[in-house]
């Protein structure tokens, strides 16, 4: 049985605006929290709130609750009613940053726990906790996948050098990439600096400098934004990790130029399967000779549809709702990420199902098309990607209007307003153009870009 408390390295330190806590201090708070919230023992507990609350809660509840359901910070009531629908949650542990009205369940606040509190610990507290993480969804819709701590820790590096790192947490820790940073810091005994999510990026950089952060993980889009900030160059970064989007070698070169002493890693991870591997050679893609070999405990392959296949004998992840296994009986998982071999490298080319990655967020064009077509003056909408050097891709909508007497300008303005009102910001088309008809390919299919 693997417990987070046992895996955590004793030199771990959690730093936030509120406090700086050693692992020892966190462990004693864990005991007090468990003693005062015994009703959570053996239950399915959702964790929702600030990053600081989140990191403490996973430490307090792993090995105590039966299952932890990680809820992204930005989740709204619709997320609770749709994505979490069907998952039986017994309690939700929140802090005061959460909008209480979005949860139809009784909430449990975890207030600051005093060192002087004295409670009797329940007996037989340790149990293997299951973790449920939301994916960004290969279909663009978020789904929950069941993991174990063993599978989540597979890509965590624990060398002596890692212990000296001071990680800054830029991601939401309730998402796979953010959780990997938290687990990396915990297991390697590094420090973890939590930043206030609502702080502007320029101020976040000042805090990273003030806290002498030496290791960061982010999407290529996030790194490009950081490179736009003058003071960012004054950080003494030793570890740079990129993931979540296709990594462009030119960005790696920009980072190498600014941080010549840093070790640069780009991670390929399937949040769905809870597996990934790291590339350290500073080039995009990965070496062709990795195909068919074991890399970070995985075997890589390419399907007949030119998608990356991953084989793992240890992985037993399944979707939370229907218990459908993610790996087939031979341990293979089709990532549906399209690959191409160029100059002895396997490079990524996008998604087989046509989803578009906008700055690290997956968008299914059909979802945006259906949304635009709700407008009475739109006959047909097609959403495609337009390559972009800053966020990888931007959305472009091509619309055919009905016979109504609307000017193109008015129609475009109304479509943008309609999308902005009810879609996430990255799903709003950056460009809308009016066409006479929708382009159709020779085979009669709609052409998306």
């Amino acid at each position: 049985m693997l417990l987070l408390g046992d895996v955590a390295n004793s030199s771990f330190v959690l730093r936030s605006a509120e406090n700086t806590l050693s692992l020892d201090e966190l462990q004693s708070r864990r005991s007090l929290m468990q003693a005062s919230h015994q009703k959570l023992q053996g239950k399915t507990v959702a964790i929702h709130g600030s990053a600081d609350h989140f990191v403490k809660s996973i430490l307090y509840l792993d090995g105590f609750a039966d299952c932890l359901v990680l809820v992204p910070k930005e989740s709204c009531s619709q997320f609770v009613s749709s994505t979490l629908n069907g998952i039986k949650i017994d309690a939700v542990v929140v802090d005061d940053s959460v909008d209480q009205t979005m949860w139809p369940l009784a909430l449990i606040f975890v207030p600051s726990i005093s060192h002087n509190s004295k409670c009797l610990l329940p007996e037989d507290t340790d149990r293997e906790t299951q973790w449920m993480l939301p994916t960004s969804g290969t279909t663009g819709l978020s789904k929950y996948v069941k993991h174990t701590l063993t599978s989540l820790l597979r890509t965590v590096a624990r060398s002596r050098k890692c212990m000296s790192y001071r990680w800054g947490l830029l991601y939401d820790p309730a998402r796979f990439a953010g959780l990997q940073v938290v687990l990396q810091a915990l297991a390697s005994g590094a420090s973890l600096v939590i930043l206030d999510e609502d702080t502007k990026l320029i101020e976040k950089v000042s805090l990273l400098i003030e806290q002498r952060v030496t290791a960061l993980s982010g999407t290529p889009t996030y790194w490009k934004q950081l490179l736009m900030i003058d003071q960012f160059a004054s950080l003494n970064l030793q570890q740079i990790t990129l993931g979540g989007e296709i990594v462009d070698e030119r960005l790696i070169n920009s980072l190498k130029t600014m941080f010549s002493g840093a070790h640069i890693t780009h991670i390929y991870a399937s949040t769905e399967a809870g597996v990934g591997f790291a590339v350290h050679d500073g080039k995009e893609g990965f070496p062709l000779d990795w195909i068919g070999k074991s890399v970070d405990g995985l075997v890589l392959g390419v399907s007949s549809a030119n998608t990356l296949m991953i084989q793992s004998q240890e992985s037993a992840q399944s979707y939370a709702k229907d218990e459908v296994g993610i790996f087939d009986s031979q341990g293979w998982y089709d990532t549906e990420d399209l690959v191409e071999v160029i100059n002895e490298r396997v490079v990524f080319r996008g998604r087989l199902n046509g989803s578009i990655n906008v700055g690290g967020n997956k968008v299914m064009p059909e979802e945006v098309e259906r949304h635009i077509e709700k407008l009475s003056f739109v006959h047909k909408a097609i959403v495609s990607s337009r390559k972009n050097s800053i966020v990888g891709n931007l959305l472009e909508a091509t619309v055919v209007l009905t016979a109504y007497d609307y000017s193109d300008e008015f129609a475009i303005e109304s479509i943008c307003d309609h999308c902005r009102k009810s879609l996430a910001v990255y799903k709003v088309p950056a460009f809308v153009k009016v066409a006479e008809c929708i382009p159709i390919s020779a085979s009669g299919k709609i052409k998306r870009g």
Binding site: K200, L201, N253, S254, V391
Partner: protein, 88 residues
């Protein structure tokens, strides 16, 4: 229209679409990430200028440099001006 006018026009157009209130005086010292545009807004600005001018300096640079201020942003477009579409 001059290059500077084209950039300013594109900036104001993207800001309007993103419902961002730009400062009245868009000077060289304006810090881009302080202007209210987020990464998506900045990406839209670069795409809009590529459509207008026919080039994107960030795609042309071998080792891209990302501008901190509006002045640096304009300088990058000036530097790569020879790559503009002939019809401009």
């Amino acid at each position: 229209m001059t290059l500077i006018e084209a950039i300013q026009q594109a900036l104001l157009s993207v800001a309007k679409r993103q419902s961002v209130a730009m400062p009245e005086d868009i000077g060289r010292d304006l810090v881009l990430l302080d202007s209210g545009l987020d990464s998506l807004g900045f990406a839209m600005l670069v795409a809009e200028l590529e459509a207008d001018l026919g080039y994107d300096p960030f795609s042309l640079m071998e080792t891209p440099v990302y501008p901190s201020t509006y002045g640096e942003f304009v300088d990058m477009y000036k530097l790569y001006w020879p790559h503009r579409r002939d019809s401009i």
